[in-house]
């Protein structure tokens, strides 16, 4: 069993404090759900755990089986068993998906995987995910549809076999059938010794992949914890109730879009 521990984590982006003291302990074989209103810090927490250079940890600690994660480079964190399925996976021109996958698999092995075994593993995983085989030979995520990108994240998770998978809105962009397929793969993997942190706004995913723990993140802090009942409450009522706990929901100041009307008049939306 492995333990990923986040303690009193404060994170700033561009000088602004987004996380204001988060505590979270994940063990393998547990599935944690992280919910919260838009823009309140869920992706920031995941990015800080993975080590995105723009997210500055100003206070607190992250450890993996007692080892200081914050002292590790991004690639080291990955090789130690952390995996982040991103909300918006990058498109990388000119780098074929299969070359990338092979490099990523080899990065955590002493001896490089031979080509035959790699192809077998890749084909198996592509098949399990019901993906189009051609996606392996295309450039990494370039021109992939929203759902194809998400499946490609899960493909990577399957091939890299992390200890902890952090999945950021993996269900967005997936159609109902694809969500079923992806959930099956996730459920398969959590039979083994893997811990999960799922970020999603929707009950739909949590019904397919039932969490053992639920956390609600508002304005950079975890304000409520529990089980499935919390998900049902949010599904029914939204987040208004957290205000009764004395918490402010962080609202984005939406910039008003200005659109040019047909006759050149400025039209505000």
């Amino acid at each position: 069993m492995s333990v990923l521990k986040v303690e009193n984590l404060h994170v700033a982006v561009g000088g602004e404090e987004i996380l204001k003291g988060v505590d979270l302990t994940l063990s393998t074989q547990e599935t944690h759900a992280l919910m919260g209103p838009n823009g309140n810090g869920k992706s920031t927490l995941l990015a800080a755990i993975m080590g995105h250079p723009r997210y500055e940890v100003t206070e607190g600690s992250i450890t993996l089986d007692g080892e200081d994660v914050l002292a590790m480079s991004v690639d080291e964190r990955s090789r130690k068993g952390l995996f982040l399925g991103m909300q918006n996976p990058q498109e990388i021109p000119g780098v074929t998906n299969s070359d990338f996958l092979r490099a990523a698999m080899n990065a955590r092995r002493e001896q490089p995987l031979n080509l035959f075994r790699f192809i077998k593993a890749l084909e198996g995983a592509i098949d399990d995910l019901g993906m189009d085989e051609n996606l392996a030979h295309r450039y990494l995520n370039e021109g992939f549809s929203g759902g194809e990108k998400k499946r490609n994240e899960i493909l990577q998770m399957k091939l890299l076999q992390p200890k902890f998978a952090l999945l950021d809105e993996i269900d967005s962009g997936l159609d109902v059938d694809a969500l079923g397929v992806v959930s099956n793969v996730i459920n398969d993997m959590r039979q083994g010794d893997m811990g999960l942190l799922l970020v999603s706004h929707y009950e739909r995913l949590y019904k397919l992949v039932p969490p053992t723990h639920v956390h609600v993140l508002v304005d950079g802090r975890i304000v409520a914890e529990g089980g499935m009942e919390l998900i049902n409450k949010i599904n029914a009522e939204g987040y208004e109730w957290v205000k009764e706990l004395g918490v402010d929901i962080r609202e984005k100041e939406e910039k008003q879009g200005i659109m040019l009307g047909v006759c050149g008049n400025k039209v505000t939306q």
Partner: protein
């Protein structure tokens, strides 16, 4: 001088203007510095040009309706100058890959010119990863209606190399298309300028001129400049350009690193990806392998 490996069954090796070696079929001939390719069947030809501290001119005459794939390997030394002119006839389909393998401590000069006639479809690939400074001018005129040219370059300037490129596609007939994508990488104290020029003269309605010029810089002492110019003298045309000089995309690096690839490995993969598509201009396994070997020079960064 660098070695070369013949990569097509038909070839011509020219050393300081003399034929060193050749194997032609009846569709190919060479006389008075002019290489002529006739139409009838598709032809694949490897031309190797060796020039040692001198000036050499070569003309191609690709006749109407010819279908050719050409790999042109350029191995220049000293202060050599290469002038290359290409006449491409009506309806010809031409893919030509320029593989620069020159080595010199001096500045080399490349001057490629060409005219492209009606309905011809031409793809130019330029692999400019060689070890020297250079002044290069690639200029193609679209002189017949519906002529279509796509040019792609991958260039590397490293150590103290200075590479300056002026690349122009000029539309001198209606309904012509000119697209260029120039990608550069600059390392160490290297310097690179890419001036991309798209010119559409008056009356050439229905034409399209598009260009992308991008340079990635690796080190603080690099110099790079990417400048797009569009000179358009007709209303009914499409034109666009994108140009940029900058460091490697931080989000791209983070994505690859988050999968366990080291920073060096990630940078290498991204750079490869950025330069590699140029080899797709012609289908040739040997060329592809050579190019990938040479690409390794780009890696091993100390950033």
């Amino acid at each position: 001088m660098a070695d070369y490996v013949i990569s097509y069954p038909h070839y011509l090796v020219l050393e300081n203007g003399h034929i060193k070696d050749a194997c032609f079929n009846e569709l190919i001939s060479y006389k008075d510095q002019t290489l002529t390719i006739k139409h009838q069947e598709p032809v694949q030809l490897h031309v190797v040009i060796l020039v040692d501290d001198a000036e050499f001119s070569l003309n191609y005459n690709i006749e109407a309706l010819a279908q050719v794939d050409v790999i042109e390997t350029r191995i220049l030394g000293g202060k050599a100058i290469l002038k290359r002119h290409m006449t491409i006839g009506d309806g010809a389909i031409v893919n030509i890959f320029h593989e620069n393998l020159s080595v010199s401590k001096e500045t080399l000069v490349f001057d490629d010119q060409g005219t492209i006639a009606r309905d011809a479809q031409v793809q130019f690939g330029y692999a400019e990863l060689s070890d020297h400074s250079e002044e290069a001018n690639f200029h193609y005129d679209l002189i017949g209606e519906n002529a279509d040219v796509r040019l792609r370059m991958a260039a590397l300037a490293k150590e103290s190399e200075k590479k300056n490129y002026t690349i122009e596609i000029k539309h001198l007939a209606p309904n012509t298309t000119g697209i260029m994508d120039n990608y550069g990488v600059v390392k160490n104290r290297g310097s690179m300028t890419i001036d991309g020029i798209g010119t559409i003269t008056k009356g050439q309605h229905g034409s399209a001129s598009h260009q992308t010029n991008k340079i990635i810089i690796f080190d603080p002492e690099c110099y790079a400049s990417a400048n797009p110019y569009l000179f358009i003298d007709d209303f009914d045309v499409k034109a666009s350009h994108a140009a940029g000089v900058g460091k490697m995309d931080e989000e791209h690096l983070y994505y690859l690193e988050s999968r366990g690839l080291s920073k060096t490995q990630s940078m290498q993969l991204i750079t490869y990806g950025y330069l590699k598509p140029v080899v797709e201009v012609v289908e040739n396994k040997m060329l592809r392998e050579r190019f990938e070997t040479i690409l390794a020079k780009v890696g091993g960064t100390n950033v």
